[in-house]
């Protein structure tokens, strides 16, 4: 039982990185400048690297001949445990940076705690990841400020993105059964402890970016429990295309 919880707990973290990386991967070559294409790709590569470490660990725990790619590519939609936030589409660059920033602040707070996990592998992944995620947050935060406090048009667009993405932030702190079990073991992170820190930090930056901080009233969740938005099916259709079309082959 412990292993099932640990396995599910790891997937919960890993899927966030994977799906966000997948979204960023769609953008490569289609961004506003060459420089931002290169930066966005770097973030995507960091996230894939983290996801690989998590999946490799999950495969080891699970045994049964599971592999990193088998776990990453061959689950049913209902078995992916990422939050709804990371699967939201790249409507425009404001969404991309807004989604990134709202996730990055959480991600860094989370990693900082994961460092103290009694699970040595998770702590080691966090140790390496913290530096990467610190940079992601700096990068996305700077862009939210630029777009928020840039032109009138960019302010509107950034506000629209924040308003739409805001409803997915609460789910970051939602705790599944696996989360609770792992917290009690000292392996998992009690995210409720830094929920207020998260909202304080995000709100401060939004204000600095001359954006309005949306009300904390209505939230949507489901991804962590496998109930995803309609976007998810298409993400998986693309991501799993090769693995599904050509089963049991090596690439």
């Amino acid at each position: 039982m412990k292993h099932t919880h640990l396995y599910n707990y790891i997937l919960g973290i890993a899927d966030n990185s994977l799906i966000l990386a997948q979204r960023l991967g769609e953008l490569c070559g289609h961004g506003p400048t060459l420089e931002t294409d290169i930066a966005g790709t770097n973030i995507s590569l960091d996230l894939i690297g983290q996801a690989r470490n998590y999946y490799q660990y999950a495969a080891k725990i699970k045994g049964e001949g599971k592999t990193e790619d088998g776990i990453a590519f061959l689950r049913l939609e209902r078995d992916y445990k990422n939050v709804l936030l990371v699967e939201q589409p790249n409507e425009h660059f404001g969404y991309v940076m807004g989604r990134q920033y709202l996730f990055d602040v959480f991600h860094l707070l989370f990693m900082n705690q994961l460092l103290n996990s009694t699970d040595e592998t998770l702590a080691a992944i966090a140790k390496k990841g913290i530096k990467e995620v610190s940079y992601h947050k700096r990068f996305s935060g700077d862009w939210v400020k630029r777009l928020g406090d840039g032109t009138q048009e960019s302010n509107q667009k950034m506000q629209e993105a924040i308003d739409e993405l805001w409803v997915y932030t609460d789910e970051l702190f939602d705790q599944t059964e696996a989360d609770k079990a792992m917290i009690s073991e000292g392996i998992g992170i009690d995210t409720s402890k830094f929920k207020e820190v998260y909202y304080t930090e995000v709100s401060a930056l939004l204000k600095e970016a001359t954006l309005e901080v949306p009300e904390r009233k209505y939230f949507i969740k489901g991804g962590k429990k496998g109930t995803h938005s309609e976007h998810m099916g298409y993400i998986l259709a693309e991501m799993q295309y090769m693995q599904r079309t050509y089963p049991n082959m090596e690439w």
Binding site: G29, H30, G31, T33, L147, G150, Y241, Y246
Partner: protein, 319 residues
């Protein structure tokens, strides 16, 4: 300046290049040298960034996480290489935005190979193996070209690109050692990319208008036909290792020359693609122009923000 004086300067200039001296952006240079370099460097940079698109097409569908990361890193490098070469080009007094405008309006060309669609995963292998292979043959001599900024950019590009071809060949190798279905996918990709790769090395010497001048300025060290022969000679044995068949019935090793004889290239197809009527020309341009236009408000916002921050700094100084 009189014509006599210019002629004199040109002679001194050509002598410097002949002595293997480098030309730097602020040095006097003939107008033709400047224009030729802007043309060649911008074409090169455009090829890098348009080249991101056919491979970028497979990032979200890469069949393993390892492959996904390698492909992302490769496409990212192409953005970087475009950036280095645009920067080198900008030292000649033309801005990246102007160069983009030339690309987007169809005035500037880019490598015709990127106007072919990438339809299977094996195309990622074929592009890395063949297209990057052909590109390396073109690019290595450019590390010694006469224009300093271009030569320096190429040194960096060549160093970074060394993994690109290996990445492609490894994809092919895996497919060829895999199931019959995978091997067929690899053969199909080779069939589609072989001839366009040969065309990529440019028109035959008889039809190439820029070759002689480019040789003098070290923009070129070998003629198109020599490069093509070199590419074929080094690639055929690699295809043998993969167990793939080059789609050319006339391909035969010539004991006398020590090189491979090969069949007729379909130059009509080449010119059709160069003139904008290849399978993916329209799509590539639509993607590039679309990205640029969709990004306009972002670039504007960043400038507006930067200016506001400057103003705030100034205010602080005053008060």
């Amino acid at each position: 300046m009189s014509n006599e004086q210019i002629k004199n300067l040109e002679e001194i200039f050509e002598a410097r290049i002949a002595r293997d001296e480098k030309i730097e952006p602020k040095d006097w240079m003939p107008e033709k040298y400047r224009k030729t370099h802007i043309r060649q460097m911008s074409q090169h940079a455009h090829s890098e960034i348009v080249g991101m698109l056919p491979e970028g097409n497979w990032i979200t569908r890469a069949p393993s996480l390892r492959r996904k990361a390698a492909l992302l890193a490769k496409v990212q490098d192409e953005a970087g290489h475009g950036l280095y070469i645009y920067s080198a080009c900008e030292t000649l007094g033309i801005s990246r935005d102007e160069l983009y405008e030339q690309l987007h309006s169809g005035k500037a060309k880019y490598s015709s190979i990127f106007n072919y669609p990438t339809v299977t995963w094996a195309d990622m292998g074929a592009i890395g193996w063949l297209v990057d292979g052909a590109a390396i043959i073109n690019q290595v001599p450019l590390c010694n070209t006469s224009f300093g900024p271009y030569a320096r950019a190429m040194v960096r590009v060549c160093k970074e690109e060394s993994f690109h071809q290996r990445q492609g060949f490894e994809i092919m190798l895996k497919l060829c050692n895999g199931t019959p279905e995978q091997k067929e996918m690899a053969q199909d990709a080779l069939n589609r990319w072989w001839w366009p790769s040969l065309m990529m090395l440019g028109p035959t010497d008889a039809e190439s208008i820029h070759t002689e001048q480019s040789m003098k300025w070290k923009l070129k060290r070998k003629s198109n036909d020599e490069l093509r022969q070199q590419f074929i000679d080094q690639t055929v044995p690699q295809a043998d290792i993969l167990g793939l068949t080059i789609p050319d019935l006339d391909l035969k090793f010539n004991e006398k020359t020590g090189s491979y004889d090969f069949g007729e290239i379909d130059w009509d197809e080449f010119w059709q693609v160069v003139k904008g009527h290849g399978p993916s020309n329209k799509k590539r341009m639509k993607d590039r122009v679309g990205a640029w236009e969709r990004g306009a408000w972002v670039r504007d916002a960043a400038m507006a923000y930067a200016e506001k921050q400057e103003d705030k700094k100034e205010l602080k100084k005053v008060s």
